[in-house]
């Protein structure tokens, strides 16, 4: 152990109460920073996972058609203007688009979907608005977590029942529908069709669970009188984080509008990020208090140890040794505070994840979603280091600039 560290440790342990106060503030600052970041990230990740599980990473929805405002000069050069593009709803030749999508190495699966707003009626309630999704179930579970979202009933029942339907939990509750019960889907200008509840799903996203009804593609085509084409193609990617880049390339290659999940859910993602930043700033106040407590502790030690500083200086300890001795004290508190704070943060995060929440807002969850990340620990510790060290520099420099002659003369008088 270096002489300066040894002295720092002894100075610090001599002021146990003040040191414990600084330490507990540091522990609280680090721990609360970790737990709040884990919970806000938890909500964000829960939402993103649910969205990816329900709507896939990319959706190919509308055909792009260039207008006269797009200038083309030969084969290799074109100037395109966003405003000059026209969108034609739906995908007219889905097989060709799917074949094109399969050329993208990052594409994991594709699912053709027919979608339309409809009215649903049960024995309990008439004409409730919903959205029917015509799918091929085996294709669709490759691009979604629909199989994992089944809360009651089974996909096998759906597979074996041509008029089977998968209905969201909130919609089922609203219509008071149970497994095996039938309901009507009504489309304008077309006779209503009767479907039977094969399974009830729960994605965790309220906006989805209260509106979507999945039926077999064939049934959907009959219901919606759409013999060819699809409304959209849902695409899953090996690396969903690259969805924005891949979607841009898909648009360029296929001539269809491709919406990555980041663009689709931009508003909510920004809300979650703003929440994480705001809670981070709030919790940083604890670290600020820790730094003030450290400042106070060191300032007290400097006042009480002026004689010791004079002795050290008379023995050949340099100004930088004195600075180091005081910065070591802050370092010791920080090191212990970072370890204990991280342990407290981990424990509190675990505890929070067990708190029953029963949230039924934008997302549906029974417990607090948490997403611990090593980066939260790094950010918490770095914040504490920066603030506590800044607060410690002032008393440390003051101690280093004390003149030993003045101290000894003062003590002797």
């Amino acid at each position: 152990m270096s002489p300066n560290l040894r002295i720092a440790f002894r100075f610090l342990t001599a002021k146990k109460r003040a040191m414990l106060m600084s330490l507990s503030c540091t522990v609280l600052g680090v721990g609360l920073f970790i737990v709040t970041q884990a919970t806000t990230s938890g909500f964000e990740k829960f939402f993103i996972k649910a969205i990816l599980g329900a709507d896939g990473a990319v959706r190919i929805e509308d055909k792009l058609q260039n207008t006269l405002r797009t200038v083309s000069a030969g084969n290799d050069f074109a100037v395109r203007s966003k405003e000059a593009q026209k969108y034609i709803e739906g995908v007219e030749e889905p097989s060709l688009v799917v074949a094109g999508l399969k050329q993208f190495p990052n594409v994991l699966g594709t699912s053709q979907v027919i979608r339309q707003n409809v009215l649903v009626s049960s024995a309990f309630k008439n004409h409730d608005s919903a959205q029917v999704f015509g799918i091929n179930i085996d294709e669709h579970i490759k691009v979604s977590d629909l199989d994992k979202h089944i809360a009651s009933g089974s996909l096998d029942d759906f597979r074996q029942t041509p008029t089977g339907a998968l209905i969201g939990r909130e919609l089922a509750d609203r219509l008071q529908l149970s497994l095996g019960e039938s309901f009507l889907i009504d489309v304008r200008n077309s006779p209503p069709m009767r479907f039977r509840v094969s399974a009830i799903y729960e994605t965790g996203v309220s906006d989805i669970d209260k509106i979507r009804v999945f039926v077999h593609m064939g049934q959907a085509r009959s219901l919606l009188r759409k013999s060819s084409g699809v409304s959209l193609i849902q695409v899953s990617l090996r690396d969903p984080a690259r969805a924005e880049v891949e979607a841009a390339q898909m648009e360029e290659t296929l001539g269809y509008a491709a919406k990555p999940w980041q663009r689709r859910e931009k508003v909510w993602i920004e809300v979650f990020r703003a929440l994480a930043t705001s809670s981070g700033i709030t919790v940083t106040v604890f670290t600020l208090i820790a730094s003030l407590a450290m400042f106070n502790t060191l300032a007290m030690i400097v006042l009480e140890k002026t004689k010791d500083i004079a002795i050290l200086r008379s023995m050949g300890y340099e100004r930088r040794d004195i600075t180091q001795i005081f910065l070591w004290q802050a370092g010791i508190v920080l090191a212990i505070g970072a370890v204990l704070g991280s342990a407290f943060g981990a424990l509190a995060t675990w505890g929070v994840s067990k708190i029953p929440l029963g949230l039924h807002g934008i997302i549906v969850t029974k417990t607090f979603p948490v997403a611990p990340s090593p980066w939260h620990y790094v950010a918490a510790v770095v914040t504490a280091i920066v603030m506590v060290m800044i607060a410690s520099i002032i008393p440390a420099r003051r101690a280093a600039h004390l003149e030993p002659g003045d101290i000894v003369r003062g003590a002797a008088q």
Partner: protein, 222 residues
């Protein structure tokens, strides 16, 4: 150690006092010097200047032939660690540390010896001041006389060329005063070190090799 024409002012503005008015002094190895005089005559100020704890407003200080009076803080600090040992009136032990740790502290900073050699030397020094059995006592667990003896052992730790003592017996009873003075002079003589001490005690001053009385910032009756 040699100093010439030392001048020192203390305080500011109207409170500014001319404490040292051109003091010259020389100390040789193996000699014990006493600086005596009334309170406020500048004895301690001179001692702090000689110990490089303070800087003169004019004049020169040389230690082992090196001029130190105008050197920077780092050079003066290094010289203090290597050549000068201090004993203060109020012991100035670091009370959270044991007697052994107090003696080890200057050695650890200088780093001239290995840790094992430092331990051996610290034990030997504490043994020589009669505290061999109390090496692991904290400063708070030692009496005033014992604390001053630890301070002497600590001052000798780096084998300095000069030992400066500011009223080393000023806070002790007669018995302890005699013991501390004997110890200080014996150890210094044994190791060929110059000892400069400031004292009010005429008996102590009378036992030194050289006595330099001071008044109003100058030596008198040389």
């Amino acid at each position: 150690m040699r100093c010439a024409g030392l001048q020192r002012y203390l305080g500011h503005d109207e409170g500014r006092v001319h404490v040292l008015k051109g003091v010259s002094f020389e100390a040789e190895r193996g000699q014990v010097y006493a600086i005596v005089g009334p309170s406020g005559c500048g004895k301690s100020t001179l001692l702090y200047l000689l110990g490089l704890l303070d800087q003169p407003d004019a004049g020169t200080i040389e230690i082992n032939g090196q001029r130190m009076s105008n050197s920077d803080d780092a050079a003066r600090t290094a010289a203090r660690g290597a050549h000068i040992g201090f004993v203060f009136q109020f012991h100035f032990l670091m009370l959270e540390f044991t007697a052994l740790e107090n003696v080890l502290m200057p050695m650890r900073k200088l780093g001239r010896l290995t840790p094992a050699q430092m331990e051996t030397r610290a034990h030997a020094l504490l043994e020589s001041v009669g505290l061999g059995a109390k090496t692991h006592r904290l400063g708070t667990q030692l009496s005033g006389g014992e604390q001053q003896r630890v301070a002497i052992a600590r001052a000798l730790a780096n084998e300095p060329t000069i030992l400066l003592a500011d009223e080393p017996t000023g806070n002790l009873d007669v018995k302890n005063s005699a013991m501390v003075f004997d110890l200080l002079t014996r150890l210094a003589k044994d190791h060929g070190q110059a000892v400069v001490l400031v004292t009010h005690n005429p008996e102590i001053a009378a036992r030194c090799d050289v006595t330099r009385p001071m008044r109003d910032g100058v030596f008198i009756g040389t």
